[in-house]
């Protein structure tokens, strides 16, 4: 006899809340009793109603029983603009009832009787009890309260009906109440404030019968309802892969030569430099080399697609052709009010949808500052990097250095150095009362590279790497000076070399 013959597996059902089923490793178990806890405004009502309408859409019968909660009319008014709302489901597949009077007049026993009768009369598969704290307040003892939950569990098991008990929670977050020990699962919703920003977070604190993604996961509420963004490092299943042996040209011949032919496929590169130095132009050139077989994605925090096309045209980079062919996609992300995981999942979704192999993320600093928990940034980037590598994506991040001229380089790489395989540094250098731009390769993992510090120019046809600044020293300080020999023999070149052909 196999274990499957001995005890059949409990069926699961999907929640209809994007991202949540990934956290739950496949959805809730039918016949379970789950507590959903959170302070007022945390999103419990939307959470429950989204599940209700999803189940009703699948032809299931759902009962939504309120205790001390907002009126049904007001509740439906608030929900009707959500995309999951379906007026046609009410009341035949989704019925809203109030059980408060029964609870007031007959106590927990009367409420249990009401639930039992309605459950049978309506053949309900799902029951929401909104205002569960009122049940606890009506119970004279903890034992009576636990008996109530126990009877719900028996009813759930007999009818394969699932119960969700929505509670504002009467004790502090993280506390364990006696009733928590009895239910099959506990989901906590919270709305935390970090500085002036707020971030919604979901935590599955208990989930019987299955593994699940532990810890905090951010979620958002929009007109689409709730969407959960599983913490990327907790849900990433991709194993780390080495970067490939073939190389992807950046489309800047001199720089590609310095790199030994280009960046290794599936590698992660960071371009560091102050604002305006030309990091983005390098990224645009990288994307302009995209083809139907090697599609490119720009994920920008600063430039809208329209502005990108105008800007690239202005510097002689033909990104529009690739965009028109569908080989390049331009995505813009607001740098404010979004969470790290929401951004990470959006990048992965766009990569998957396009089948992108070249990715340029313009605005590493914005991505980094989206995290409400800075200490997890390295783990997040490691997970994102693994996912992108597994998809065969070669990634370039543009990161801003705040100091324009400084002997110190404060790179935004705390804990990230091992994750960045290639590092390019672009700087402004003052030399002989002129502002010059330099580019150097700091790191190119597992590859030899040209260590020269080269001068480059931004021109109407893009970016030209000119030559190494042989005649100058202390370039890395930002304020260079000519070497004595060069002062005597050869001036430092100022104009770009004419390109051959």
């Amino acid at each position: 006899m196999t274990s499957h013959e001995f005890v059949p597996h409990l069926p699961r059902f999907t929640s209809g809340i994007p991202g949540l089923d990934r956290v739950l490793n496949g959805g809730f178990f039918a016949g379970g009793v789950y507590i959903v806890e959170g302070a007022p405004g945390a999103g419990k009502t939307i959470f429950a109603n989204q599940i209700c309408f999803h189940r009703a859409k699948d032809g299931q019968r759902v009962l939504y029983v309120t205790l001390l909660a907002e009126s049904h009319a007001r509740l439906l008014q608030h929900l009707q603009d959500m995309s999951f709302f379906d007026a046609a489901a009410i009341p035949e597949r989704l019925t809203y009832l109030s059980g408060f009077r029964m609870l007031e007049e007959g106590g927990l026993r009367a409420l249990l009787d009401l639930l039992r009768k309605e459950l049978r009369a309506q053949s309900a598969n799902l029951v929401i009890l909104d205002g569960f704290a009122a049940v606890g307040e009506s119970a004279e003892t903890d034992r009576e309260f636990k008996k109530f939950v126990h009877e719900l569990q028996v009813q759930a098991g007999l009818g394969t009906c699932t119960f969700f008990l929505l509670s504002s929670g009467t004790s502090g977050e993280g506390s364990v109440q006696p009733v928590h020990t009895m239910v099959d699962g506990l989901v906590r919703l919270s709305d935390r404030v970090f500085g002036v920003r707020a971030q919604r977070e979901l935590q599955v604190q208990k989930f019987r019968g299955s593994r699940y993604l532990r810890g905090l996961h951010s979620f958002e509420i929009s007109d689409e309802g709730i969407r959960v963004f599983p913490r990327l490092e907790s849900s990433s299943v991709a194993s780390g892969e080495n970067s490939g042996s073939n190389r992807l040209a950046l489309g800047i011949p001199r720089l590609d030569a310095m790199l030994g032919g280009g960046l290794r496929s599936r590698s992660t590169t960071m371009i560091l430099g102050p604002s305006g130095v030309g990091k983005t132009v390098v990224g645009y050139r990288f994307l302009a080399a995209s083809t139907a077989k090697e599609k490119g994605l720009l994920f920008s925090f600063y430039e809208t697609p329209e502005r990108v096309l105008t800007k690239t045209k202005g510097v002689g980079i033909d990104l529009a052709a690739g965009y028109d062919r569908g080989d390049v996609e331009l995505a813009w992300q607001s740098p404010v009010e979004s969470t790290l995981d929401a951004i990470g999942w959006r990048i992965l979704e766009l990569v998957d949808r396009l089948g992108a192999k070249r990715l340029f993320v313009d605005g590493f600093n914005a991505l980094e500052s989206a995290s409400a928990h800075p200490e997890r940034v390295p783990q997040f980037f490691a997970a994102l990097g693994r996912e992108l590598q597994a998809r065969g994506v070669t990634t370039i991040y543009a990161a801003e250095l705040h100091q324009i001229f400084s002997p110190r380089i404060a790179a935004p790489l705390r804990g990230l150095s091992p994750l960045i395989e290639n590092l390019l540094l672009m700087r402004f250098v003052e030399l002989r009362a002129q502002l010059r731009r330099t580019l150097s390769i700091i790191k190119l993992r597992d590859s030899e590279f040209d260590p020269a510090i080269c001068e480059f120019c931004l021109t109407s046809h893009g970016l030209d790497v000119v030559d190494s600044l042989d005649g100058a020293e202390e370039l890395m300080t930002g304020v260079a000076r000519e070497t004595p020999r060069s002062r005597r023999r050869k001036p430092v070149r100022l104009k770009p070399k004419r390109r051959r052909g």
């Binding site: 029983v65 309120t66 009126s71 049904h72 009319a73 007001r74 509740l75 439906l76 008014q77 007026a87 046609a88 009410i90 009341p91 035949e92 019925t95 809203y96 009832l97 109030s98 059980g99 408060f100 009077r101 029964m102 007031e104 007049e105 009401l114 009768k117 309605e118």
Partner: protein, 120 residues
């Protein structure tokens, strides 16, 4: 004094309506579910019933059907109310004199009550 029975599981609305209609001279009784509503009507024959559609134990459609089958209640006018639109309610309920979509303002319910109870 005319008697009104309010049958609604949502206690807050039922309580406010009971108090308000009592203030303007009606004798008002309320019940929190359809089954209890029919019991109240049997004990206190009403001149008007204000009936919610979605309720536990016996819903508005069930109450209306039972009333129409009862010679003592068959002629009693009913104002139906629901958070669901009337197009949904009408598929299961016939024979009510007015429909009020929740949430409604006080003037709306007052006008409906006065119109229905204005007869001899």
């Amino acid at each position: 004094m005319k008697t009104i029975v309010i049958v609604d599981d949502e206690f807050a609305l039922a309580d406010v309506l009971t108090a308000t209609l009592s203030d303007i001279g009606f004798h008002v009784l309320s019940a929190a579910n359809g089954k209890r509503g029919l019991e109240v009507m049997a004990e206190h024959p009403p001149n008007l019933v204000i009936l919610d559609y979605m309720m536990p134990l016996l819903d508005g459609a069930g109450v209306l059907k039972a009333m129409r089958a009862d010679p003592k209640l068959s002629a009693v006018p009913v104002i139906m109310m629901s958070a669901a639109p009337e197009s949904v309610v009408r598929t299961r309920c016939q024979g009510y004199v007015a429909f009020l979509r929740k949430p409604f303002d006080f003037e709306t319910i007052l006008n409906a009550v006065q119109r229905v109870t204005a007869g001899p």
